[in-house]
């Protein structure tokens, strides 16, 4: 029998960077809010996976209306967004059931492949913590107070989500965390002494942050259909 899994999907954006009134996770891609794409794709990974979305309190009603309007019936729980990503994930963690494996994903990353998530959970089951990474393409510089220097980009990786863990490892790391400003969930585990396995990410697994990203996402979907 497959291991029980949960996925916390953080959707805390306010839409301000999109220059839009509507939060970016509610903006439509092919006529359907981005967050619904993300949830449906996670359901494709494993229909039994527990799905938990984390939304700012003042967006919950809007979300429920959108679900009604779009006839969206993919089962999911809702947790309240916090002031930081750390606090949002912490709120999501409280709703996690007895799953042995747990992922944390950005609500505005709807274009991951199901294979990627399978790979991440398999590696998390083996080593405890697995995250998807991609190469750094441009040259990279390290900036110090009064100077800066070239660094070898081939020694760096860009991090995506979902970040997947043994549930016990992520819960313990969050319990022991000493501040709320970690750059991502892997960093929380690392701060608690855990090591992180890297899995090849997918260049198409973009985070929709700016208006141009939304158009790029449309192109990626179009290309997949062609």
């Amino acid at each position: 029998m497959a291991m029980k899994k949960s996925m916390i999907i953080v959707a805390g954006g306010s839409g301000s960077r999109m220059g839009a009134e509507i939060p970016k996770q509610f903006m439509e891609l092919r006529g359907k809010p981005i967050l619904m794409h993300t949830l449906d794709k996670m359901k494709d990974v494993d229909a039994d996976m527990q799905l938990i979305i984390v939304l700012p309190l003042d967006q919950m009603e809007k979300w429920e209306k959108l679900c009604y309007k779009h006839g969206f019936s993919t089962p999911h729980l809702m947790a309240e967004g916090g002031a930081t990503r750390f606090q949002s994930v912490e709120n999501g963690l409280r709703l996690v059931d007895d799953s042995e494996l747990l992922g944390v994903h950005d609500g505005v990353r709807p274009l991951f492949s199901t294979q990627l998530v399978h790979n991440l959970f398999a590696e998390a089951d083996k080593s405890g913590a697995a995250i998807p990474v991609t190469p750094v393409v441009p040259s990279l510089r390290l900036v110090k107070e009064n100077s800066n220097q070239a660094v070898d980009r081939s020694s760096y990786r860009q991090v995506q989500t979902p970040q997947c863990f043994k549930t016990s490892i992520l819960k313990t790391a969050f319990g022991n965390a000493e501040h709320v400003n970690y750059s991502d969930d892997a960093a929380v585990v690392e701060a608690n002494g855990g090591s992180i396995s890297l899995v090849n990410g997918d260049p198409d697994n973009i985070k929709i942050t700016n208006p141009i990203d939304l158009e790029l996402a449309e192109l990626i979907i179009q290309r997949r259909q062609d």
Copy 2:
């Protein structure tokens, strides 16, 4: 009187990453080869700037045919591409006239603003070397032999082109260089003891490397026209 300037535009791509027979710098954007967009935009910066393109030997005839076909008359010189970027720039350097300021740019970055290049030359005139950089958006990890660790992305910058210099500084640095595998021209200057000034780059100043980038470039142009 404005200072004399030259710009070396490196266009060495073979098109293999584009999954296309045609080199990426010759692919069309709005019906015009990318490299022509880049040259025309540089002419907009300063009509008196000396423009030098660096092309693989076996692409020169094709380029001349394209210029004829498109009635392209923006004056430019041609240098032969080398085995590495360093060697390509070195070949371009031999054609630089008595310009006091010199830039090196990627042929497949046609979407920079003229203001960006003005800013870079102004800073290069003041400090010797100036490059455009943008923030690192995703989380970043440093990979070592048997481990990896989160690093603070706010301490890093992604590097774009054009990279601009006092001509004497870049020529001297290339003359003193000890290998041919520098990640960019700023790294050559830095290896020679020079320091590099950072100028705010432009997110739209993308490098067209993959097929999706070409579509993204179309979107950016479209957005500018709307």
